[in-house]
């Protein structure tokens, strides 16, 4: 099933996402690309075009501006199984470059599984399998010649439970991705500072960069994890309920961070908090699973549309908190 994107406002109807479609068309001519799905999505930065100039201005660190084009992510007919248990069925979704896409839905409907499929973490679970394809910048990340580690370097992930390397210093935590990926940078200090600033943590830790990452508070740890993911300059950042283990103040901080990152990286965030989805995201997808149907997208589109004028009664029930 290909999701029909709902766009009540109708804005951007003809802003064809030419970059992505061309990319796919050139590579896989036989592909039955869902025609013009993105055309119905609200307008946004077109991949291939340089980022807006003011992005650099928001960047206090200033040393690593996003001079790479923003990159979008798209899943096509993604299904997933754990053993023989099917948990996702034909999920197709476009996550637009530079935007924040929120995935909402009751627990157990497969949001985490879907997110983990987007950066090839799903395949590490024993017995897990999947169907369909995931296109990063128009290229299938599951193509046989692509190494999972390379894919994950471009598609970072922040987990529900903050997971810094506890014995490593804050500084080394941020730099750990570089070491793991074998990336050499000229000015590591500047990159660490920039990453921490982008994650909104710099001012709190600047005087104790050598302190262990495990000694920070939960909210700080989560922002450290965000900084760590950003240090390898991923194209996409996946966040699985990044605030569910945090107190309201820390949650606010992380939301601010996400708001700052918007326009710099493509973000996909799973959240159980409707207000949060409404606050941070531009696009939104509502997932649902019932006892006899695997998880699937009920409705997706502009966040405002999903919240103010949902087309499906189940979406309306969920966003208004009338769901089990």
């Amino acid at each position: 099933m290909t999701v029909e994107f709902v766009n009540p406002s109708g804005a951007g109807r003809h802003a064809a996402d030419a970059g992505v479609v061309d990319g796919i068309g050139g590579l896989r001519p036989a592909d039955p690309a869902p025609p013009d799905v993105t055309a119905e999505l609200p307008g946004g930065p077109v991949p291939g075009s340089p980022p807006p100039v003011d992005v650099t201005a928001q960047w206090p660190g200033g040393s690593v501006p996003p001079d790479r084009p923003l990159v979008g992510l798209e899943s096509r007919d993604v299904s997933a199984w754990f053993g023989t248990h099917k948990v996702l069925e034909r999920v197709s979704l476009r996550m637009r470059p530079g935007e924040v896409t929120a995935l909402i839905g009751p627990s157990g409907c497969g949001k985490s599984t879907y997110l983990r499929i987007l950066n090839r973490m799903h395949e590490m679970v024993r017995g897990a399998s999947l169907a369909g394809e995931v296109l990063l910048d128009g290229q299938d990340i599951y193509r046989p010649d692509r190494q999972p580690a390379q894919v994950r370097r471009r598609i970072g992930m922040v987990f529900q439970k903050p997971n810094p390397f506890p014995a490593m210093s804050i500084y080394d935590n941020v730099a750990s991705g570089l070491k793991l990926a074998g990336i050499k940078v000229a000015n590591k200090d500047a990159l660490v500072e920039t990453s921490l600033r982008r994650a909104g943590l710099w001012n709190e830790v600047r005087s104790r960069l050598r302190a262990p990452g495990g000694a920070l508070s939960g909210g700080q740890q989560q922002r450290l994890c965000i900084a760590r993911s950003l240090a390898v300059s991923p194209d996409v950042l996946l966040m699985d309920e990044p605030c569910s283990a945090l107190d309201p103040t820390s949650t606010r901080r992380v939301e601010d961070t996400i708001a700052e990152l918007q326009g710099q990286v493509t973000i996909v965030i799973v959240t159980h908090n409707m207000q949060q989805a409404a606050r941070v995201s531009q696009s939104c997808a509502f997932f649902l699973a019932t006892h006899d149907t695997p998880g699937h997208i009920v409705e997706a589109g502009q966040t405002r549309g999903i919240f103010e004028d949902p087309q499906d009664s189940r979406t309306a029930d969920y966003v208004h908190g009338r769901f089990g």
Binding site: R126, N163, M168, P212, G214, C225
Partner: protein
Amino acid sequence: MTGASIPAPDAHDSIALGRLPAPAEPPAGGDWPEDRPRRIVTPRSAADRVFRGVLRCAGVAVLVITGLIALFLILRAGGALRKAGPSFFTTQSWIPAANRFGIAAVLPDGAIIAIIALAIAVPVALGTAVFISEYAPVRLRRTLIAVVDLMAAVPSIIYGLWGVFFLQPRVIGSIRWVAENLGFIPVFRVRGEHTSSSFTTSTFIAGLVVSLMVIPIIASICREVFSQAPVGEREAAYALGANRWGMVRTVVLPYGRGGIIGATMLGFGRAMGETIAIALIVSPTYLLATHIFENSGMSIAALIALRYQESTPEMLSALMAAGLVLFLITLLVNALASIVVSRSRSGAETE
């Protein structure tokens, strides 16, 4: 965004919720209630008390037994120690009848054998543990775990015999090659004429055999610790684009560091106390074995095993003195091991 708005709290809320305003004055007719820590009494159930009692007895029993062993050794060793005096620690021979006996050779030789054993065992065991916990496919993993545990259960006499009759003749060629080609490094030099029997009873071969006994212990402990490395951190490493070795290096090994050190020290303790293999292999020379490929070397445990049938009380007392030293060293190593392990357990430690 839609959603019910929360009514603003009004002034009556706190009272409606049952909160009392803080008293500004002491209650009428008296002082403030006492503001000191209260004594808290926890009544325990009978079952709890019995259980605690049993456990406490067991704990105390361990201490008492250890203390009794120490006392026994001290009492029995006293005679020899008084007779030998400080020379007990400086003499390199073992002739109690002539009052020339000391541990200046057997103690360091035993330590050298243990260090050789660890130098071989630790890398092999770490490799085994990492392979089993991180790389082996599930079915092979189960088999390997069983095999390693079985290896740990094999009595050391079996290793000793295997070392003497199988390993020894087969490694001599390699040892000779090393001694002849790397002989310029002092520890590898073999003095005197090189015949095939000049290499047979060295501390190195003893260490090699002892390493086989400690590998399964170290590997088993490390594997257990490695497999407990938190999934969250493993996934964090993978999500940053780590390959498996990168993940092992950043997550599994740092997490397992305390376990590795503890297992190594435990292995050291076992190697120091190892008796049979050393008694079978080395030739009792009672000289400091500074050249690991030469025929020499003896450890305290092997010394005791070889000479415990000596007849006179003086001779036995001398052996007790050596045993006392071994006992104290083992105690020290284990204490150090537990300190190191408990220090490095805390995840919040900086590198």
